[in-house]
């Protein structure tokens, strides 16, 4: 009896484990047939799988936004929100495993790479033929900013739809420091340097011990394009990347005299102590901490919401968003973050219309994807006004957004929750002085070379500015070490 019991137990255990494993390795997915045709005829999707990075957290109720979407549209929205630090690693691996979500939020560094590799659905026809209300209220310059040429002969095509405006950095100046120095906001480089010198004086005359005239979270932003998004006052007309000249040919901006001039400006200002000594190692959070502790006179940081946040968190400070100085020709607006539809999606037109267009409809969809769920993230008061409620996770802060930042909306819609005037003001200053960055050019040759090339650029910039290399030595080092990569890339682009 005992032996029989042991036999049965062992067989049962083996069977359960074996079938369990078989179930684990089985293909649980289905329904995706790869690719879709750009036709306006579509059926409503039953469900959509979406991967998103910059939405609110599940603890703050993002799943309730998805549930509300299902209630309003009848479409189940399955949201995946990976850890922010590992977001692109996760996305890359999902493509590598051949199982990406239907819709993915994708930054401008990864968007062209994936489009070039044929991983994204071409939504040009869907956008051109849509009859959605979005088309009437959108600022098309943001859509155009995402059009790119994958050099297959089809010309400029759209592989992603902007979630919000790309935005960019602007230089915030401490108004009280400026008043103390008896100065107005500078309009040119000389004035800018004079202002920084005056801020430096606060440290030496004991008014603000440890005063940092200007800080930023890096010199060369080589983790994301455009590389010169920070400290435009020093880059001016230099382009530390490949760019297309007026005659249509491509050139390497980093090896040009304008870049050497930019490095000279950086080096001189750094040696004089006008730029934060830790600019190379600064993270955005460390810059904010320095600013909030009252040590910083000017801070090159994102336009919009940060104007109010920086001011509110820095005791006694008032901020002025500085219009771009004349030598820069304006601030740079990044390529917007895109919502892409992958070729894994079985009903791309349906997803485009019922999710993307719906979320920019200027009505209930936009409200849901911008402000969240009524009663949980915002409420309409008896007098008809709409106010943001507090975050579930942090009852001291107002809900700012569910998926899309309201201040960066790409559509002209009547947001019932009014923005802080400081936020609107800084965006106005930024936008009156901005130029759009273009989608970074991609090719197999660039993909092969870019990582090493960016290391060389980063090394040259940092070492020249820190005085370890002269500008000439730095340019020589770049021209020598980067030559094989630059030559190969230019041959590919101009070939």
């Amino acid at each position: 009896m005992k032996k029989k019991l042991i036999r049965l137990t062992s067989m049962g255990l083996a069977a359960v484990m074996t079938f369990g494993l078989a179930a684990c390795t089985g293909n649980g997915g289905g329904g995706s047939n790869g690719g879709g045709s750009a036709s306006l005829e579509y059926s409503k999707p039953d469900s959509i799988k979406m991967t998103f990075d910059t939405c609110m957290t599940p603890e703050n109720g993002v799943n309730d936004v998805c549930a509300k979407y299902e209630e309003l549209t009848g479409i189940k929205l399955e949201l995946e929100k990976p850890d922010h630090a590992k977001y692109y690693e996760k996305i890359t691996l999902s493509f590598a495993s051949g199982n990406p979500s239907d819709v993915i939020e994708m930054g401008s560094t990864y968007y062209p790479e994936n489009a070039n590799n044929g991983a994204l659905w071409d939504m040009t026809d869907a956008w051109e033929n849509t009859t959605a209300h979005c088309k009437e209220i959108i600022d098309e310059s943001y859509v155009d900013a995402l059009k790119m040429d994958v050099r297959d002969g089809s010309g400029m095509r759209l592989y992603g739809f902007p979630t919000v405006a790309g935005n960019g950095t602007i230089t915030y100046v401490r108004e009280d420091w400026l008043k103390d120095a008896g100065m107005d906001l500078p309009t040119d480089y000389d004035g800018f340097i004079k202002m920084l010198r005056a801020f430096k004086e606060r440290g030496s005359n004991g008014k603000t011990p440890g005063a940092i005239p200007l800080t930023a979270a890096g010199l060369l932003n080589n983790g994301e394009t455009p590389y010169d998004i920070y400290l435009r006052e020093f880059y001016q007309d230099a382009i530390p990347d490949f760019y297309q000249k007026e005659d249509g040919t491509w050139a390497d901006g980093f090896s040009e005299p304008e870049m050497a001039a930019a490095l000279t400006r950086f080096r001189e200002a750094f040696a004089e102590g006008l730029i934060d000594g830790e600019v190379v190692t600064n993270k955005t959070s460390t810059c904010r901490d320095k600013f909030n502790s009252g040590l910083v006179g000017a801070f090159n940081y994102w336009a919009g919401m940060w104007d109010a946040k920086l001011e509110d968190n820095t005791p006694g400070a008032t901020l002025l968003p500085m219009p771009a100085i004349k030598e820069t020709g304006g601030y740079t607006e990044r390529v917007p973050t895109a919502l892409v539809i992958t070729n894994n999606c079985s009903n791309p037109v349906g997803v485009f219309e019922d999710l993307i267009m719906y979320s920019h409809d200027g009505g209930e969809g936009q409200m849901l994807f911008t402000r969240g769920v009524e009663g949980e993230h915002y409420e309409v008061k008896e007098d008809g006004t709409t106010v943001a409620l507090k975050y579930l996770e942090d009852p001291t802060k107002d809900v700012e957004k569910s998926f899309y930042a309201p201040e960066l909306s790409i559509t002209k819609w009547d947001d019932p929750i009014k923005l802080d005037p400081r936020v609107e003001n800084s965006l106005e200053v930024f936008r009156s002085n901005r130029k759009f960055a273009t989608v970074p050019v991609v090719s197999d040759v660039i993909s092969d070379s870019l990582a090493n090339l960016n290391v060389i650029k980063g090394e040259v910039c940092a070492n020249v500015i820190h005085g370890n290399l002269t500008v000439d030595e730095g340019m020589e080092k770049y021209n020598k070490e980067a030559a094989p990569y630059v030559e190969a890339i230019l041959a590919d682009l101009n070939g």
């Binding site: 440890g210 730029i275 000594g277 830790e278 070729n343 290391v455 370890n468």
Partner: protein, 327 residues
Amino acid sequence: MAKVNVDTLVVKKPPLGVRMYKYRYFYLMALPVVILLLIFYYWPMLGIRYAFSTYKLKHITSGQGPDYSTGIGNFQKLFTDRFFLDAFRNTVILSFWNLVFATVFTVIVALLINEIQAEWGKKFVQTVLYLPHFLSWVVVASIFTLILSAGSDATGVDTSTVGFINAVFLKLGIISKPVSFLTEKSTWRPAWYIIQRWKETGWGTIIYLAALSGISPDLYEAAEIDGAGRLKQTWYITLPSLMNTILIVFILNLAKILNVFESVFVLYNELVYSVSDVIQTYTYRKGIQGNDYGYSTAIGLFKSVISLFLVTGADYVAKRIRGYGIV
């Protein structure tokens, strides 16, 4: 009564098939484990073949699969890329010295903890030493960036924002200007070794403390009768008794010698790339950012082969010197 000569008794082993049938239920019970091993350990190894191919995202999206005409092309590319060679050199240097420091410091700290007589004191010290292990590398990097900061004044005149270490060194007159430990090529590696030891030494003592508790008190008692002091007891009893554990931990750590990533990733910067960039950070840039799976697999395979040689080599040396190893 019949006598059995035990010296000449030969127990004949039944054939394998008979033995397997006899123990068939044990084999059946082991089956899921074997299947699990095959699926999760050996099946993924088939991916090694991608190291000999060109395999990028477009090969997946187009459905054409990897291009095996590359052959050993990825390895040729690897050994002609100066960034990889720099990264390989840095990995070996950083890992080797870290392994040496880890072994030495961990054993010393374990011995010191073992000498603490008061139980509560021992527990307190252990807790304090273990805590840094549970901090993420991002947090550790933030802490040490602050502590080691040379301040925000690039001219070095205004020292009011320097970090704790620079402030102390300046006060004691050890340095005349703040030193940016994490952006100077000469100081980055020493700083990294110290940060590694701060975080991991306490945790590493656990295994040695367990081994120390297994040493017979009789040995110490006998040594004491023979007139041996604490140092001689440590030298002649404790260390020889710990040798097996030290050897095992050393060889196991040797297998992980090329797996340095997070600690470097959060602490390096453009000014110190030439002394800090390691294989894993290089792979991250090339593989994840460049979607080059064939090349990344080639790097991974290269790392595994080197690790295999290191472990089997160390095991061989251990066998030659001490008569035993772990493999």
